[in-house]
């Protein structure tokens, strides 16, 4: 009845994962898999959500894709459900291979699963969940963007996201330990210490590209005088791209390995770095797949951890960070875990001047990188930039009120905002909370 809005991408993205996967499809296989997922795997939630949606469009303004594309309805949350799931339901799975290709691209690269729309739907319909069902169908059909599929393969083979091989991991930790010993000679990164209070876990890209974050964490742990350890075996990586490709089986294996590593080390809890999706995976999604209502071992995200360290006086601030800062509320630790007030407490304790961006807290706009979207790689970078003009506007507004530094306590937010910062030439300085904490904390002989 309604005219489909025009597609705004200039050219079709070439993605081998999608093209090759689409070539292998047959109508029978498509129909079979769609039925297995929609009728076999899914249940009451899918049915209630589809039957309850009154097609009112009130979710539209929740979505940064919609807002960034001049309110073009094809980018609204329900608009994306219409283009994918409704069509599959209407045709009872008898859709074409080309349709699956387009669907895979929409579900994987045009929704960050940030769940902001769940806060705007009067009925609380979980559209991110519906998009995950669509991704699950595409995964089972073998039509997933190449780059993110590669990370899922890496998880499957190595139990980490970045093809870090067995010996490279302890090597990296020892390298960072030696580097940090130049600053604090007594510093250790204790490996495999049974019965430690804390197992510190990081994401795969940590040792691969951001080893300095391990350095900083080691300095913070040592100065705070904590009883901590890191595993020398697979299970050190808390990240989880399989959760975002719809590969629930691999997701379960990764989480099991992570929890079992902590259990083997008999630690009291897992403390993790500034990563949002890994937190979602460990404390909300992966544990459920394994049958745990809440995580089997207490988990603390870096925000909570820093909050505790500052509150208990284990870390003291020598001189607050002078530049005016603003704060990006990441979906997975704010809308996903309510850490926004603790984060503000930490920011105020380590920075002189903090100003809010608007909207903020649960209502903050998504970075457009999370939910596996940035992991779909370079083919989609331009789309990612155009699809978050609203974030650039939000940042520009706070910059014009004086903010120079943008704190993003989530790896996906951090990388995504760095891209936006360059693309829109905002000229902001983007940092993790840990970067600033490390910079301003009291250290021996400093």
């Amino acid at each position: 009845m309604a005219e489909p809005a025009k597609k705004v991408e200039e050219k079709k993205v070439i993605d081998e994962g999608l093209e090759k996967g689409t070539d292998r499809l047959t109508p029978d296989r498509i129909e079979k898999v769609i039925k297995q997922v929609l009728e076999g795997e899914s249940g009451a939630r899918l049915k209630a959500y589809v039957d309850t949606c009154i097609h009112c469009g009130l979710c539209s303004e929740a979505c940064h894709y919609y807002l960034s594309h001049d309110n073009d309805p094809r980018w609204s949350p329900v608009g994306k459900v219409k283009q994918t799931l409704w069509e599959m339901l209407k045709k009872k799975g008898r859709v074409s291979a080309d349709f699956i290709r387009t669907t895979a691209e929409i579900a994987s690269t045009e929704c960050n699963l940030c769940k902001r729309c769940a806060m705007y739907c009067p009925f609380g319909i979980d559209i991110a969940y519906l998009m995950l069902i669509v991704r699950r169908i595409c995964h089972r059909l073998g039509v997933t963007p190449l780059y993110i599929q590669d990370t899922a393969h890496s998880h499957s083979v190595t139990m980490n996201q970045m093809w870090v091989k067995g010996d490279e991991w302890p090597d990296t930790l020892q390298w960072q330990e030696e580097e940090a010993q130049a600053e604090i000679p007594t510093l250790r990164i204790p490996l495999e210490k049974e019965g430690a209070d804390i197992m510190y876990s990081v994401i795969g890209p940590g040792p691969k590209f951001q080893a300095q974050l391990i350095y900083q964490a080691a300095v913070i742990m040592n100065i705070a005088g904590l009883d901590w350890t890191m595993p020398a075996t697979p299970g050190w990586d808390n990240s989880d791209m399989a959760m975002f490709t719809g590969d629930n089986e691999i997701m379960g294996r990764i989480k099991r390995t992570h929890f079992e590593t902590a259990a083997r080390l008999k630690v009291k809890r897992i403390v993790m770095g500034e990563c949002g999706h890994a937190f979602r995976s460990i404390q909300d999604v992966g544990n459920r797949w394994l049958g745990w209502r809440m995580p089997p071992i207490p988990i603390a995200h870096a925000i909570e951890f820093y909050y505790e360290l500052l509150k208990e006086g284990k870390i003291r601030v020598a001189k607050k960070y002078a530049e005016t800062v603003t704060f990006q509320d990441p979906c997975n630790v704010v809308r996903g875990a309510g850490l926004h007030e603790k984060a503000r407490d930490v920011v105020n304790q380590i920075c002189e001047n903090f100003i809010e961006m608007h909207p903020n807290r649960e209502h903050n706009y998504c970075c457009c990188a999370g939910g596996g979207v940035i992991n779909c790689g370079p083919p989609y970078k331009l789309k990612r930039m155009k699809s978050n003009r609203i974030k650039a506007e939000q940042l520009f507004a706070v910059k014009s009120r004086g903010a120079k530094t943008l704190i993003a306590p989530c790896h996906n937010c951090h990388s995504g905002l760095e891209d936006i910062n360059h693309h829109y030439e905002l000229g902001m300085d983007i940092k993790f909370l840990g970067d600033i904490l490390y910079e301003v904390m009291e250290k021996p002989e400093s």
Partner: protein
């Protein structure tokens, strides 16, 4: 005409009420059975406190960010839903019918107020129709079924209004009014009008997830 009236107000009314109540029960029981069969974990996350926290925010006009973003729609949708439910229950001529058939009666609203409320329902339906036709984000996700369910809801109020004024074709409009009311009752459990049944559950579940697991507001 008389026999047609007797038919729609007799056996057809019986059927409509049986299908309505039976259908509602069936839909709710079958969705709960489906939860029980496949997604039992949902029970473990449900919380009375957070369910009501969420429901209360969303059934109060302007208590949520999104209601405040759409002030006109918010006023219309609240006025519409309140009048839609209250009007048929507290209309004197309906109560008289209950009294004649079952010897039960209850307090009624003055006819003049009911007229206004009926006009509010009709006007709201026109508003929703126009919104569907001209707001791009609504138009994009609109299908024929959306117009049909809107018509199903509007019909009993339009025909009721016509019958009340007895301008012309009184019997005709009365029959049409009863019939369209029956169509609406039957449609509620089996179309997306079933949001009447399911929305408290979906809202409660999202509220429980946000309150209990996510420690965040969902409004």
């Amino acid at each position: 005409m008389n026999s047609l009236y007797n038919f729609v107000s007799g056996p057809l009314a019986w059927m409509a009420f049986i299908i309505f109540f039976g259908g509602c029960l069936f839909r709710i029981i079958s969705i709960l059975a489906l939860v029980h069969k496949k997604e039992k974990f949902i029970y473990t996350y449900m919380s009375w406190k957070y369910s009501f926290r969420s429901i209360m925010h969303w059934i109060i006009p302007f208590a949520t960010v999104n209601w405040r973003k759409h002030p006109v729609l918010t006023l219309v949708t609240f006025a519409f839903h309140i009048c839609l439910i209250i009007t048929p229950i507290f209309l004197l001529s309906h109560i008289i019918l209950w009294d004649e058939s079952w010897n039960v009666s209850w307090w009624s609203l003055p006819d003049s107020l009911v007229q206004v409320m009926t006009l509010i329902v009709i006007g709201s339906c026109v508003f929703f129709l126009i919104r569907r036709l001209i707001a791009p984000e609504v138009q994009y996700v609109t299908s024929a079924s959306d117009y049909i369910i809107l018509a199903i809801v509007a019909a009993p109020f339009i025909t009721g209004f016509m019958a009340y004024y007895q301008w012309f074709g009184y019997q005709f409009f009365t029959i049409l009014h009863i019939f369209s009311g029956e169509v609406m009752l039957v449609a509620i459990p089996f179309t997306r009008l079933s949001h009447m049944l399911f929305s408290p559950f979906t809202r409660a579940y999202m509220g429980s997830e946000f309150g209990g697991v996510r420690h965040a507001r969902d409004w």
